[in-house]
Amino acid sequence: MIKITNLEKFYRTEEVETIALNKLSMHVDTGEFVAIMGPSGCGKSTLLNILGMLDDPDEGSYVFNDIEVAHFNERKRADLRKHNIGFVFQSFNLIDELTVFENVELPLIYTGVSAAERVKRVEEVLDKMQIMHRRNHYPQQLSGGQQQRVAIARAVVNKPKLILADEPTGNLDSSNGNDVMELLTDLNEQGTTIIMVTHSEHDARYSHRIIRLLDGQTVMENIMV
C-alpha cells in the first residue's frame, strides 16, 4: 500500500538546517499494523505527516496505492487524503464549537455524503465506540479517553483504508490507553491498515511490526509474533 524510497525532509530556520528525514525508505502492506518508535525529535511525526499527505517531502519518492504522490499539489493530496486516510492525534484535536455528533459527521460532509446516510453512519460508529450517549455533548464536557474515542470515531467514519495515529495514548492513563489500543486492533482485524507512532513499548506490542527511527533514518525493524 505504501512504498517510500530515499525520502528527505529538511527544515530551514534562519541559520540552522535540520534534516528531519534522511534518505528514509520503507514500505507498508495493506492490512498491516505498524508501530513507529524512536527518541524525541528523530522525525516520527514528520514521517507520519508526509505519509498522511499533510506535508510534502523535499526529495525522494512516495508511492501510495501504486500512485506516485510525492509531488502532488495540495488539492490532489487533499482529495486522496479525504477518501483514504483517517487521523488520530495525541491531543485529540476535536473542534470545540461542535458537538460529538457534529465532529464525527464532519468528514462525511466534506466527502458529500447525504444527510440521511450521514446520520446512519455517525450513529453506527458512535455506537461502536460506545459514546452514543454523549452524542450531543461538546468536547470540553468529555474525559480524555472519551475524547480520543470520538477522535477515533471521526477517523474511521469514512471507512478509510489507512489510519495514522500519532501517539494516540500519549495523553491517556493506562486503562483508557488500553481501550484505545483494543479499538485500533479491532479496526485492523477488519482490514484497516494502521500506522501508529508511539513511545510506549507496551502499546507497540499490539502491532505486527515495529520500525525504529534515529536521526531520520530507519535503524531497525522488529517483526512481532
Binding site: 487521523f87 473542534i95 464549537e97 468528514p107 466534506y110 471521526r154 469514512n158
Partner: protein, 801 residues
Amino acid sequence: MLKNYFKTAWRSFWKHRSTGFINIAGLSVGMAAAVLIFIWVHNEFTFDDDQPDAENVYRITSHLAISKNETWVWESAPYQLGLEAKKTMPEVVAVTRVLPFHWEPMYLSINNEFFKEENAAYIDESWFNVFKTNFVSGNAIAFNQNPFSIILSESKAKKYFANQDAVGKIIRIDSANYQVQAVVKDAPANSSFKFDLFIPIAARQADAQEKKNDMSWGNFSYITFLKFKPGTNIKQATENLKSIIKPHRDKNDNLNITLRNLKAMHFESDLQNSGLVHAEKKVVYIFVILGALLLIIACINYVNLTTARASLRAKEVSIKKIVGAGRGHLFNQFVAESAVISVLALVLTVIIVSAALPSFNSFTNRNFSLTTGSAYLWLIMIGTLLLTIILNSIYPAVLLSSFKPLSAFRGGSVMKIKDTSLRKGLVVLQFTFSIFLIIGVITIYKQLSFVQSQNPGYDRSQIMSFNLSWKLLKGMKDDQKAAVKSTLKQAILQEPFVNGVSLVGMESIQSNGSFSSGSADWEGRPKDFNPSITYFNVDGDYNKLVNINFTSGRWFFPGSVDKRNVIINETAAKQFNLHKPYVGQRFIAQGDTGVVVGVVKDFNFQSMHAKITPVVFKLDQQWSSNYLVKVAPHKQAQAIARMESIWKQNFPDQPFSYQFLDQEFDKIYREDAKASTLMSGFAVVAIIISCLGLFGLAAFTAEQRGKEIGIRKVLGASIAGLVSLLSVEFVVLVLVALVIAAPLAYWLMNLWLQNFAYRISMQWWIFMAAGFVAVLIAFATVGLQTIKAAMANPVKSLRSE
C-alpha cells in the same frame, strides 16, 4: 451543504458575539451612509429616464457670443422658434414650451389667505402630450381650453385644499381668478420638472403687451422641447432651426442654436441660469467615491477583526482540513460567516436609512421613500449588501482557508508578519480618512466664520428689505410710478419704530452682480478699456442706514445738487487709474457728466466667493423698487405690523413679504453651510466606524496578550506602564495616519478655499487640532480596553493556560 455553512456561521457568530456586534454596528453605519449616497447618486444618473421616447426629445439651446471670450448659453429660445419649427419641419412630431416662474415668487390667494408658490410654470397645450404625467383627477382638456386654469400637484392640492377635491376650486393670482382643472401626481425625485403648479401660457398672453413681448424674436424666454420622429438626423434638424431663426436676426449677430437631448440635460454645466433641476457631474462622482470609501472603511473593521481572530481559529481550520475539507469548503464557510454578519447589518441599515430619510430628503431637496414599490431602492440595498459581503470575505476567506494544516498544531505563528502589517495599514487608512474629514470640517468652519465675522465696511443690522413688484405699477406712467413709490416711502418713514427708509435699485447692499460695461468715461481712459461696473442706484438716505466707511470725500448732499455726481469704491479708483486726488475728478456715468464726490472703502457686495469689483453709486430712482428700512432695536415686530397694514391698504392683492439683511447675508453661504454639515456628517460616520474597529482590535489584543500581561504584572509592571504598553501601538497608527492625511487635506482643502476670493490660510494648528482630536478619540477607545486588561487579576489569565 449550504445549510451546514450557515449553521456553522451562525454558531461562530454567536460564540464571538461581542466582536460580531461591533462588526454589525460598524457595517450598518457604513452601509446606511453608502445606501443613502447611492440612492442619491442613482437618482442623479437616471434623470428623466422614465419619460417615454426620451431619446427623441430635444431641448433648444441658445448660444450668444457677447465678446471674443465670453458666450452666454441659455436653455430657452424665442416663442416663435417652436411655432415655426412645428410648421416647417416635417421631422418634428411635437413642440412644447415651458416658462418656469423662477424670477420672483408667485403668490396665490386662496380664500383670502396668501401662499407663496416656488415651483410654478407656464406651459403650452402640448406639454402633457410630450411629458408623461399621471393625472389624479381632472384632465388636460379643460386646462387647455380655458386660459385661466391651474393644474396642481397632489401634495400642493392637499396643502391648499386639505381633503376637499381641488378640482373646480378658485385661486387668485395678481387680481385674476384661476380655476383648478386637474390634480397630477408629484414629479418623481428624478424629474427635471419639479413643478407644483401649472398655468397655460395662454393666460399670460391674454395680456396684449405680454403677448407682443413674447412674439419678439429677440425674447429668449421659453424653454422649448422638440419631439422628433425616431431616427431623425439631429444635425440636419439643428441646421433647419438655424435657418428658421436667421432671417429674424441681425446680419452680424453671433447666435448659435444647438439641440440637447432630454437625458443629457441634467448634467449641463454651461447654462447662465436655469429653471429646471440640474446637478454637477463632478459632485456626483465625488459622492460615489465618498460612499465607496465609507463602505470600505466599514468593511475594514470586519476584515481586521476576522483576520485578527484567525490565529484563534487556526486549529479549527486545520482539523477541518485534515478530515477532508478542501479550500473551497473553508472558503465558502468564511463567505457564509461574512454573509450572516452582513445580512444582520443590512437589517439595521434599513432601520437607520428609514429613520434618516426625512432629514435626508429635506437636505437633498428630493423626495425618496422606502416603500416596497421602489424596486431600485431595494436593488441598491442588495447591491450594497453583495458589495459588502465581497469586500468582507475575500481576504479573510483566502487567508484562513490557505492555512497549512500542520502549522496550527505547532502553536507557532500562523499569521505571517505581512498580515499584521496589512491590518495596521488598514487601520491607518481608516484614520487617514477620518483625520482628513476632521481637517475638512475645521477648515470649512473657520472659513465660514471668517466670512461671517469679516467687518463688512457697512452696517446691515436691523435693516429689513422688501420689493415693490413691477407688476403692481403696471400700466402707470413714469411720474405716476415715482409718486406711488415716494408716497410709500414717506408713509413708512412716519411710523414710530422706523429709523430710516431708502429706496434703491439693487436688491440691498448685497448685489447679485449685474454688471454693465462701456457706460462710463473719465480722464485718461484708454479707448478700448471698458471695465465692468456695478451701479448702486440709491437715494440720498441710503447712507443713513448702512453707514459706509469713506476713505475720502463724502456722501451725496440732500436734494439734487449731486444728481450727476458719483461715489466710487477703492477698487474702482485703482482699476480706472483715476488721477489723484480722486475726489473732484470728472466722471461720466450712464450719460451724466459729474465729478467723484467720495471714495468708499471696499466692501463685499457679493459673497466672498467673488472678488470685489468696481462700484459706482449714483442718485437715481427711476428703476428703483427695493425698500430698505432700518427699524428700532427690539421693536421689529411692531414695525413690521405697521408696515404690513400700510402695504395692505395700497396693494391688497399681494402679500407683504420682507427679509432681514442679516438673514439674506447668511443665505448667500447656504451652499457652503450645507457643505459644512455634510462634511461633519461624514466625519462623524467615519470616526464612529474607525473607533468601533479600533475598539474591537484593542479588545482582541488585550485578550490575546492576557498571559503576557499577567506575567509582566507578576514581575512588577505598573498598571500605567501596561496601559501605555498596550495603547502606544494604536496611537502610533493614528499619528501615521495624521502624517498621511495632513498633506492630502492641505491640498484638497486649499482647492476648496480657491472658491473664495477672500479666504483663510490653512494654519498648522488646524492639523495639530485634527491630530489631537483623533489621538484623543483613539486613546479613549483603546484605553478602556487596555485598562481593563491591565487591572485584571494575573492569576486568572495565567491559570487558564
